[in-house]
């Protein structure tokens, strides 16, 4: 693991540039006792940067859940009706890779605020797929 | 799936091939039964044994189950062309020479009569023989194991004297003990499990016929010769 200091402005600057170059909308990194979220409201020239960087547990803040790998995003298991199979409450959706469904979690003490992509959208590694907020 | 539903309206015919004293029919998608259509005798069974040996060596065979003048072949995969498979079986049947399995001689100590001989009286009534005669006729016989089946290690024995043939019961005994010496129609055998049993019990044998932990779990094998020794007669 790297020894990045996630509250170092230089590091944030570097990451933002990398995201812009990659055409990615945002990133969330949690590492040791730090967390960093960068969200680019519009990719491209007029990029508006929203940075939340703090020690863990920044109360009241929304956060993003990013795709842990490439796959087809489904907010719920597409193969099962909602009446069958209760998903764990903190699951924000699934990445479908072939027959495999990778559950994506809101994170500790977080709950889903909104999905950021439509069902069946192909997402890439690191793409923001949901916005979560602290549990009430 | 629409295709399979539309077939419902067509006449349903079984794929069955009957040729040169043998008949092949499928059981499900991966099993095929070949039956000798001739007499129920040792000659037919010897040819089934020969056929079993040949088919066992086929690379697509998962399992062979010789029965009474028949053989069930279970394949590893469902064949796309069942007719070719049926023809291959019939060809093997035609080529099957009669073989006699060189089995072991198994002697089984039996208590004839006694508490387990629940059907001896009925057999006497039916045959018109005394219990002594029934017992003597049974232990003087020499039997061949035709096949194993039904329960672990159970041997179907051929060679019963027609005088003591006894049809299976219409109402089975609910809890016949393992070890009961039984007669079912023209066959005899020793019960290997305690439980419901439609055969007629005339005695009891202590011999354990099956040990799952042994390299050869079943005591009997097709081709074995069996003799029953009257260790005691309780009439």
């Amino acid at each position: 693991m790297s020894k990045l200091d996630l509250i170092d402005p230089a590091v944030i600057e570097q990451l933002t540039a990398a995201l812009q170059a990659a055409g990615v909308d945002g990133i969330e990194i949690t590492h040791a006792d730090q967390s960093l979220m960068i969200r680019l409201a519009n990719s491209g020239k007029d990029a508006v940067r929203q940075v939340l960087s703090d020690k863990m547990g920044a109360a009241g803040a929304t956060a993003f859940v990013n795709a842990p790998m490439a796959g087809e995003f489904w907010p719920s298991d597409p193969s099962r009706t909602s009446s069958s199979g209760t998903s764990a409450a903190d699951t924000v959706g699934f990445l479908k890779v072939g027959p495999i469904l990778l559950p994506v979690k809101a994170g500790p003490s977080k709950r889903l605020r909104q999905h950021l992509v439509e069902p069946a959208t192909i997402v890439g590694f690191g793409d923001a797929i949901a916005e979560v907020e602290p549990e009430a | 799936m629409n295709a399979s539903v539309s077939q419902m309206t067509q006449p349903v015919e079984a794929l069955t091939l009957d040729r040169n004293g043998a008949r092949v029919s499928p059981i499900g998608s991966r099993a095929f039964l070949i039956e000798a259509t001739g007499e129920f005798d040792l000659a037919s069974q010897r040819r089934i044994w020969a056929l079993s040996r040949a088919v066992e060596l086929w690379s697509d065979t998962l399992e062979i189950i010789p029965g009474m003048t028949n053989l069930l072949v279970v394949l590893k995969l469902t064949p796309e062309d069942p007719e070719a498979l049926a023809l291959r079986l019939l060809e093997a049947w035609e080529q099957a020479e009669s073989i006699d399995l060189v089995g072991r001689m198994i002697e089984i100590d039996v208590t004839y009569g006694g508490e387990h001989a629940t059907d001896l009286a009925a057999l006497c009534d039916r045959s018109g023989l005394s219990d002594r005669e029934v017992v003597r006729i049974h232990y003087e016989g020499t039997y061949r194991v035709f096949a194993l089946g039904s329960a672990p290690g159970f041997g179907y024995l051929h060679g019963l004297d027609p005088r003591i043939y006894m049809p299976r019961k219409t109402v089975p005994s609910l809890n016949m003990a393992r070890g009961c010496l039984t007669i079912g129609g023209m066959q005899t055998g020793v019960a290997v499990l305690t439980g419901p049993n439609g055969w007629n019990s005339i005695g009891f044998a202590e011999l354990q016929m099956f040990d799952p932990m042994s390299a050869t779990p079943a005591v009997m094998a097709p081709g074995d010769t069996v003799r029953f020794v009257p260790a005691s007669i309780e009439l």
Binding site: P68, M69, D77, P78, S79, R80, S83, S84, G85, A88, A89, T91, F94, V97, P99, I100, L101, L102, P103, V104, K105 | M1, S4, V5, M8, V12, A14, L15, S25, P26, I27, G28, S29, E35, L62, E63, I65, G67, M68, T69, N70, L72, V74, L77, T78, P79, E80, D81, P82, L148, S150, A151, P152, G153, Y156, F210, P212, M213, A218, A221
Partner: protein, 331 residues
């Protein structure tokens, strides 16, 4: 290791069975829903036929005595880990002391608890399956009881399961094109006419056209069907022959019996049909009291369905390994 805390009767250790011993009278046994067992094992990186627990009476509860990975496949019975819901068919890692609980199934009837490394009971005649009739295999040849402690096998090439777990689409959804849809609520089972089919004359048509009900006298040995009786035109006296699961026999009562995983090894009732291999798992999940209908299939259709199922299981195996590998590389 894990310990059974609560169980009903009839729950056993099963793998893919013990083929090869019917010729000495030994039932094949094995999972009633072999597809659920194969998918569960594939998801965990196990050998495809590793032994699992087949649960058919509920509630069922067990405690993991050491860290493990598990998945519940087959019937959807609202699995809980320490009281929290687990997504159906989702493999998870657990810590020592965690409790897995299964309730009454909402869909299907038999659930499979597969464990990374498999259930390590002694192999008897090539299999860990419980042979209830023979009273050997599995856990001392009997049903599981409260207090049973089961050893887990070693994992030869473990998967590094993600913390959120790893799930798989319902095979019924993935294979929807391969299987006939339910017909007016009745399970549609494909079968091939068997040796005595022609002897049933006009009754044979009624075998295919009517909807049968699975009677309460149904278990791992066989399903007795209820409906309008069918009979051969003349009585037949059969010589005993080998049978396999899926065979549909017609006893004198005229109501068919489908032999299942614990099928007798030999039989003499006239047989009207045999269920194709690829459809047996669906029967294994059919409930007592539910209805089914038979449709005729050809061997070519059966082979095609069998192939599709094999490809699906292989896809699960390959993709789960790939996903776990990719996540690990990116972490």
């Amino acid at each position: 290791m894990m310990e059974i805390i609560q169980t009903g009767p009839f729950n056993t250790v099963q793998d893919l069975g013990r083929p090869g011993f019917r010729n000495i009278g030994v039932t094949s046994s094995g999972a009633m829903d072999p597809l659920a067992l194969k998918v569960g094992n594939s998801l965990l990186g196990n050998e495809i036929g590793a032994a699992a627990l087949e649960i058919q009476t509920y509630p069922f509860k067990l405690r993991f005595s050491k860290a493990a990975a598990f998945v519940v496949t087959g019937a959807d019975c609202g699995a809980l880990i320490d009281g929290r819901p687990v997504h159906p068919w989702c493999a998870l890692s657990v810590e020592a002391g965690q409790i897995l609980e299964l309730g009454q199934p909402r869909i299907g009837t038999r659930a499979y608890i597969c464990i990374a490394g498999g259930i390590d009971v002694a192999t008897v005649m090539g299999s860990r399956s419980t042979s209830l009739r023979g009273a050997f295999g599995g856990r001392e040849g009997r049903y599981l009881i409260t207090g049973d402690a089961l050893q887990l096998g070693e994992v030869s090439s473990p998967l590094n399961l993600p913390n959120a777990g790893l799930s798989v689409v319902d095979p019924a959804y993935a294979l929807a094109d391969v299987y006939p849809a339910h017909d007016d609520g009745a399970l549609v089972v494909r079968a091939i006419p068997a040796g005595e089919h022609a002897l049933f004359g006009a009754d044979a048509e009624r075998f295919w056209s009517q909807t049968w009900k699975i009677s309460t006298q149904s278990d791992r040995t066989g399903y007795r069907l209820m409906g309008e009786p069918i009979r051969p035109t003349t009585p037949v006296e059969m010589r005993s022959h080998g049978v396999v699961s899926g065979v549909v026999q017609v006893p004198p009562s005229g109501e068919p019996i489908i032999q299942m995983a614990d099928a007798n090894t030999a039989g003499g009732y006239p047989k009207i049909a045999g269920v194709i291999e690829a459809d047996l798992w669906r029967l294994g999940q059919a409930r007592i009291g539910s209805r089914l209908r038979f449709v005729r299939a050809t061997h070519a259709q059966a082979a095609e369905a069998e192939k599709a199922v094999t490809v699906f299981v292989e896809d699960v195996r390959r993709t789960s390994r790939m996903v776990c590998g990719a996540l690990q590389a990116m972490s």
